[in-house]
C-alpha cells in the first residue's frame, strides 16, 4: 500500500530524513516510533504530498507523491500534529467543508458526515464552534476529518499528544477500530502506545531507520531471553522467601531470580532465563513439586522501551532496565530523557 524507497529530505542546513526505506501492507496498522525530532513528521509530510522529497521515492497505493500528488491526496486522510481546525466554524460545517474539499457532494456528503460523527463520538458537539471544544473533542474532530472521504490510507501524527489518560485510551480504541478498513500509520514517541495499538513498528532516530518489524518479532529479536513473573504462596502459613528463591534458581536454564518487592506480603519473583531457554514449564513444575501454590505465572515481556533504547543506543541496556523497573507512568514516558532516576 505504501512503499518508501531511500527517502531523503534535506532542509537548508539539516538532513531531517536520511535514506529511509520501508513498506506497509494493506490493512496494517503501523507505529512510527522515534524521539522528538527524529523525522517522523517530515516523513509523514512527504507521504501526504505536503513536502516534496529531496531524493528517493514514496508511493501510496501505487501513485508516486511527486508524479501524481492529486491521486495520492485523494487516497489519504491526514491528521497533522495540531488538528487543522478553523475555530470560527461549527463541527458539521467544518466536516462538510473538508468533505467537499476531498471531492464529496450531495447525499453522499451528508451520509459521510453523519457516519464520521457517530464513529468518532462527536455527535453531541455537532453545532458547537470548533474554537470552543475541549482538547479531546478537537482531536476527535481532527480524526473525523481525516476519515471523512473513507481514504485507503490514514496518516496520524501523534494522535494522542496532549490528551488526558482517559482520552488517550478512547482515541487508541477508536484508531484500533478503524484498522480493518484503512491502512494506518501513526507516529508517536510514547512506546506503550505502539505496543497497544500497532502490529508493525518502524523505529527511526535522527532521521535514520533503526528497525522495522512486527511488535512481536521485535520483542523476541532483541531479547532471546525469557522474562517471567511468578507468584508463589505457601499452603500453610508464611513461606521463607529465601527458600523459594533458592529453589527457583536451581531450575535449569534460569539466569537470575529477583524478589520483586520485599515489603509486599506476596512472594513475587522476576525470573530471567538464559539466552534461548524456555523456563516457564520447569518453573511451574518446581514450585508444585515443592508443595507450594503457584498463584501466578506470566511472561513479563521486554517492554518496547527497552528495545527502543537498545536499538537507538542512547542509553545502555542496564540503565534502560533500571528505568523500566520504575513504576510506569500513565503516559508521556519520554524515552530520550537521559539520566535514569535513582
Amino acid at each position: 500500500m505504501i512503499a518508501v524507497k531511500e527517502l531523503t529530505k534535506r532542509y537548508a542546513r539539516t538532513v531531517a530524513v536520511d535514506q529511509i526505506s520501508f513498506s506497509v501492507e494493506k490493512g496494517q496498522i503501523v507505529g512510527f516510533l522515534g524521539p522528538n525530532g527524529a523525522g517522523k513528521t517530515t516523513t509523514m509530510r512527504v507521504l501526504t504530498c505536503f513536502l516534496p522529497p529531496s531524493a528517493g521515492t514514496a508511493t501510496v497505493a501505487g501513485f508516486d507523491v511527486l508524479e501524481q500528488p492529486r491521486e495520492v491526496k485523494r487516497r489519504i486522510g491526514y491528521l497533522p500534529e495540531a488538528p487543522p481546525l478553523y475555530p470560527e466554524m461549527a463541527t458539521t460545517e467544518y466536516l462538510r467543508f473538508v468533505g467537499k474539499l476531498k471531492g464529496l457532494s450531495g447525499a453522499e456528503l451528508d451520509k459521510r458526515v453523519d457516519y464520521v460523527c457517530g464513529r468518532c463520538f462527536i455527535s453531541d458537539v455537532k453545532r458547537k464552534l470548533l474554537g470552543k471544544l475541549s482538547k479531546g473533542y478537537r482531536q476527535r474532530v481532527g480524526l473525523a476529518q481525516a476519515i471523512i472521504h473513507n481514504p485507503e490510507v490514514l496518516i496520524l501524527d501523534e494522535p494522542t499528544a496532549g490528551l488526558d489518560p482517559k482520552q488517550i485510551n478512547e482515541t487508541r480504541d477508536l484508531i484500533r477500530s478503524l484498522a480493518g478498513d484503512h491502512t494506518i500509520i501513526l507516529s508517536t514517541h510514547i512506546l506503550p502506545e505502539v505496543e497497544q495499538t500497532c502490529e508493525q513498528v518502524i523505529i527511526i532516530n535522527k532521521g535514520k531507520l533503526v528497525a522495522t518489524d512486527s511488535v512481536h518479532n521485535l520483542q523476541a529479536r532483541t531479547r532471546g531471553v525469557e522474562s517471567v513473573l511468578i507468584e508463589v504462596a505457601g499452603r500453610a502459613g508464611a513461606l521463607a522467601s529465601e527458600a523459594v528463591q533458592q529453589k527457583l534458581e536451581q531450575v535449569p536454564g534460569v539466569a537470575k531470580v529477583v524478589r520483586r518487592d520485599a515489603r509486599d506480603q506476596r512472594l513475587i519473583f522476576e525470573v530471567e532465563s538464559q539466552k534461548g531457554q524456555l523456563v516457564r514449564g520447569d518453573l511451574a513444575r518446581a514450585v508444585v513439586a515443592s508443595g507450594w501454590d503457584l498463584n501466578e505465572l506470566r511472561a513479563a515481556g521486554m517492554s518496547l522501551e527497552e528495545i527502543f533504547l537498545e536499538l537507538t543506543g542512547s542509553e545502555t541496556a542496564a540503565e534502560a532496565r533500571d528505568r523500566a523497573e520504575q513504576p510506569a507512568k500513565p503516559d508521556e514516558t519520554t524515552p530520550t530523557t537521559s539520566e535514569p532516576q535513582p
Binding site: C49, F50, L51, P84, Y86, E88, F97, L101, Q145
Partner: protein, 255 residues
C-alpha cells in the same frame, strides 16, 4: 471550479462570522458617510452662494460630488484592504490549517482564487455602502448613472489589484500583523509614487508614476473606460495572483 466556490464560501463564512467584516463595514460606512456629507454640504453651500450672486452656472452632481467621492473611496480602500488580506494565508500558516488545504486533492490555484474572490466579495459589499449614499443623489437630483457605473468598475478593478498584492504578502509570513503592516506600507508607497512625476520627467520617474495605483483610477472616476488603465489593473491582478501561487508553492520547498 467547484473547489474555488467551496473555498470562497468558507472564507466568506470566516469574514462574516467573525467581527472582521462588520468592523470594516462600520469603519468604512462612517468614514465614507462623512465624506459624502461633507461634499454634499459644500455643494449646497456653493449653490446658495451662486443664487445670491445671481449667477446661473449649471452645477453638475457628477463632477462636484460623484467624481471626488469615488476617488476618496479609492483612497480609503487603500488603507482598509490590508486588514482584509492580512489574514488570508498568514492565519492558515499559523494555525496549521494550510496543511489541510495542501493535502487535499485541490490545486493551489483553486485555493488562491477562492480566497481572492471571497475578499473581493467582501470588498464589493463595502462598495455597496457607498451606493447607499449615492442613492440619495438620485432621490433629490438627476446625476448621470453611467459614469457612476464606470467608477464602480474602476473601484472593483483597483480593489482586485490591491487584494491580489495583499494576498501575496500574506503568503510570506505566518504573522498577520507583519503581513498587514507590510501591505499597508507598500500601498502607501504605491499611492505616492506619482509625486516624482511632479518635478522630474526622466524615464524612471515616468515608470514610477505609471506604477501608482490611484492615478489609473482617475479616468474611471471621470466616467471614461481607458483600455490602458484596464490593462494595468488586469495585468496587475494576474501578476499578484501568480506571485501568490509561486510563493505558496515555494513554501513546500523551503519550509
Amino acid at each position: 471550479m467547484r473547489n474555488i466556490w467551496t473555498i470562497c464560501r468558507k472564507e466568506l463564512g470566516s469574514y462574516f462570522v467573525s467581527p472582521i467584516a462588520y468592523g470594516l463595514l462600520a469603519v468604512f460606512a462612517v468614514a465614507f458617510g462623512f465624506f459624502f456629507w461633507n461634499a454634499l454640504n459644500y455643494f449646497v453651500l456653493a449653490g446658495l452662494e451662486m443664487q445670491l450672486r445671481g449667477e446661473s452656472i449649471p452645477m453638475n452632481l457628477n463632477e462636484e460630488i460623484v467624481r471626488p467621492l469615488l476617488s476618496d473611496a479609492g483612497f480609503v480602500f487603500l488603507l482598509l484592504i490590508p486588514f482584509v488580506t492580512m489574514r488570508l494565508f498568514a492565519e492558515e500558516k499559523r494555525t496549521g490549517t494550510i496543511e489541510l488545504l495542501a493535502t487535499s486533492p485541490i490545486r493551489d490555484v483553486e485555493i488562491i482564487l477562492g480566497k481572492w474572490l471571497a475578499a473581493l466579495v467582501l470588498y464589493a459589499s463595502l462598495l455597496l455602502f457607498t451606493a447607499l449614499n449615492f442613492a440619495w443623489l438620485f432621490v433629490y437630483g438627476k446625476p448621470d448613472w453611467k459614469p457612476l457605473l464606470v467608477g464602480y468598475l474602476g473601484l472593483l478593478l483597483q480593489g482586485g489589484l490591491l487584494l491580489a498584492i495583499g494576498s501575496f504578502i500574506s503568503t510570506l509570513t505566518r504573522n498577520q500583523i507583519i503581513a498587514g503592516a507590510a501591505t499597508f506600507g507598500l500601498f502607501i508607497l504605491l499611492w505616492v509614487l506619482d509625486w516624482v512625476t511632479g518635478y522630474d520627467s526622466a524615464t524612471w520617474s515616468t515608470v514610477l508614476g505609471y506604477l501608482c495605483v490611484l492615478t489609473h483610477f482617475n479616468s474611471f472616476a471621470r466616467g471614461v473606460i481607458d483600455t490602458k488603465d484596464v490593462v494595468f489593473y488586469l495585468s496587475g491582478i494576474f501578476l499578484g495572483l501568480f506571485a501568490t501561487a509561486r510563493s505558496l508553492e515555494s513554501l513546500r520547498w523551503r519550509s
